[in-house]
């Protein structure tokens, strides 16, 4: 009990330290702005964002409702794209694991495509779908499905053979082995793969949104550039980071933790 409280306390202390560190950076940043822009006039005010300016942008975008619309639209688009990626990626990964032919021939190709930065899919996507929702979602899928496929292949391959052997000698057939053994055994690694897939999807989403004109965080970023509003640009960048982290922590990390804890891996 006492140990738990102590653990809790040290956790809060750690969090507090991290918050203070961030606060320190913001203060330093504002100071830098003050010295560089106001005192020395070393930078032009339109070329240098400041914490105060970003804050004002935040209030303005909340007030006119465009911030939450942008976040909502981006998240929805990202989730649709990610969901399609999960279906395609796990299926492709499963096939690559199951058929030796595909593992030998398809996997190198998939790994090759995976090295292509997702922004490189944008021109192709626009030629196919025009400046549309589908174009962005296509970029998201191309950006994350292949990494999920490789992760799925690896996750299944890394299942300790002893589990399959044990199930075989208890009379399980191939279908039962996949359903009752491999599916469960590969879950921790699969979730890690999906988590990584999400971070790829989120990056690809921003590449797609920046290049098209649909409402979303990427487009808000470009609007900031068009208006030469560096504070808005900075704000949207911060929001993109925060939303990415939030999904990662809230969804994937807690899912991962519950699975690991149940199996005594934490």
């Amino acid at each position: 009990m006492a140990e738990n409280i102590q653990k809790g306390n040290s956790k809060i202390a750690k969090l507090l330290q991290q918050l203070l560190f961030l606060l320190g950076i913001v203060v330093l940043w504002q100071l830098l702005y003050f010295v560089g822009v106001d005192v020395l006039e070393f930078w032009k005010p339109y070329a240098m964002p400041s914490p105060a300016g970003v804050w004002k942008s935040l209030l303005r975008l909340i007030e006119n409702g465009s911030l939450f619309a942008a976040i909502g639209n981006s998240l929805l688009r990202g989730m649709i794209g990610f969901a399609i990626s999960v279906v395609i990626g796990t299926l492709l990964g499963f096939l690559m694991e199951h058929f030796k032919f595909l593992h030998q021939n398809m996997r190198p190709l998939v790994m090759g495509i995976q090295t292509l930065p997702s922004v490189c899919w944008v021109p192709f996507s626009i030629l196919w779908f025009g400046l549309s929702e589908q174009a962005i979602i296509f970029v998201v899928v191309m950006g994350s499905a292949f990494s999920i496929a490789i992760a799925t292949d690896n996750a299944i391959r890394n299942v300790p053979p002893i589990y399959q052997k044990a199930a075989l000698t208890m009379g399980a057939n191939q279908k039962q082995i996949y359903r009752k053994v491999i599916l469960h055994a590969c879950l921790p690694e699969l979730i890690s793969g999906l988590k990584q897939g999400w971070s790829f999807a989120w990056r690809a989403l921003m590449s797609g949104e920046v290049m098209t004109t649909c409402i979303g965080l990427g487009q808000t970023l470009i609007t900031g550039r068009n208006l030469a509003d560096i504070n808005q640009v900075m704000l949207v960048m911060i929001i993109i980071v925060l939303v990415g982290i939030l999904i990662d922590q809230l969804f994937f990390r807690s899912l991962e933790r519950s699975i690991y804890r149940k199996r005594g891996l934490l």
């Binding site: 002893i162 075989l168 000698t169 009379g171 469960h184 055994a185 149940k262 199996r263 005594g264």
Partner: protein
């Protein structure tokens, strides 16, 4: 009713070496057979062949007259590592084989509890695998194996990863269970003492031209005691056999 190995040879393709050579063996119903031998003499290969996890290069294996073509629940294996599934709790693990076999839920529950009780683990039915000690895990694995009523139980050094005290306790429990249930057991071990303690017959494997070097029937009353003179004699005799080659 028995398991018959007819002139079994297993050659591994990558090394070209014979893991098992010319094994002729018959195991009677209800018999407890232990296999001893130096590491690398093909003990585990022999077990894998009977389990159907490996196919013999030559010869055939018959169970009640029918040739073995692959793994099956009539020859359930208990491994050196417990091989319990970490995503299932104790009772779910024990039920796994019965679930595969499609037994009615009620029967699964009753049988699982019966064997957990036999292993004195009924209080641990809802525990996660990682919460159990090494010895308890092997007892759960044994309970899981027993629920399947297999014709023969194959045990691949099941107690060798445990500390001496635990493994001694488990082999006494196994002797107890065998005396109660008279299952047919094919048991691999590197401990001659364990073999003499448990077996009706001890098979000594070697890396010679024929894998089976000697078969020693153990004519001792059960329960057995490791300090009896007769026990010690058997032990020395078999130990000499094992160490004879080289």
């Amino acid at each position: 009713m028995s398991l018959q190995l007819r002139n079994i040879t297993k050659t591994f393709q990558d090394s070209g070496q014979d893991a098992v050579r010319n094994v002729d063996l018959e195991i009677a119903d209800g018999e407890f057979v232990c296999v001893v031998g130096k590491s690398g003499c093909g003990k585990s290969t022999l077990l894998n062949l009977i389990a159907g996890l490996e196919k013999p290069t030559a010869g055939e294996i018959l169970l009640d007259g029918a040739p073995i073509t692959g793994p099956g629940a009539d020859r359930v294996v208990m491994f050196q590592e417990h091989a319990l599934f970490p995503w299932l709790n104790v009772i779910q693990n024990v039920k796994f084989g019965m679930e595969i076999a499609g037994l009615p839920k009620q029967e699964q529950e009753e049988k699982a509890m019966k064997y957990l009780r036999l292993m004195q683990l009924e209080e641990y039915r809802d525990y996660a695998v990682h919460q159990l000690s090494g010895g308890m895990r092997q007892r759960v694995a044994l309970a899981r194996a027993l629920t399947l009523d297999s014709k023969i139980l194959l045990m691949d050094e099941p107690f060798s990863a445990l500390d001496k005290q635990t493994s001694n306790r488990l082999r006494a429990e196994l002797q107890d269970i065998w005396m109660k249930t008279r299952r047919t057991i094919f048991f691999i071990t590197h401990s001659v003492e364990e073999a003499v303690y448990l077996a009706d017959r001890v098979i000594v494997l070697s890396s010679g031209a024929n894998s089976v070097q000697d078969i020693v029937p153990i004519e001792l009353e059960r329960p057995r005691h490791v300090y009896d003179n007769a026990f010690v004699e058997y032990r020395h005799r078999i130990l000499d056999e094992v160490q004879k080659e080289l």
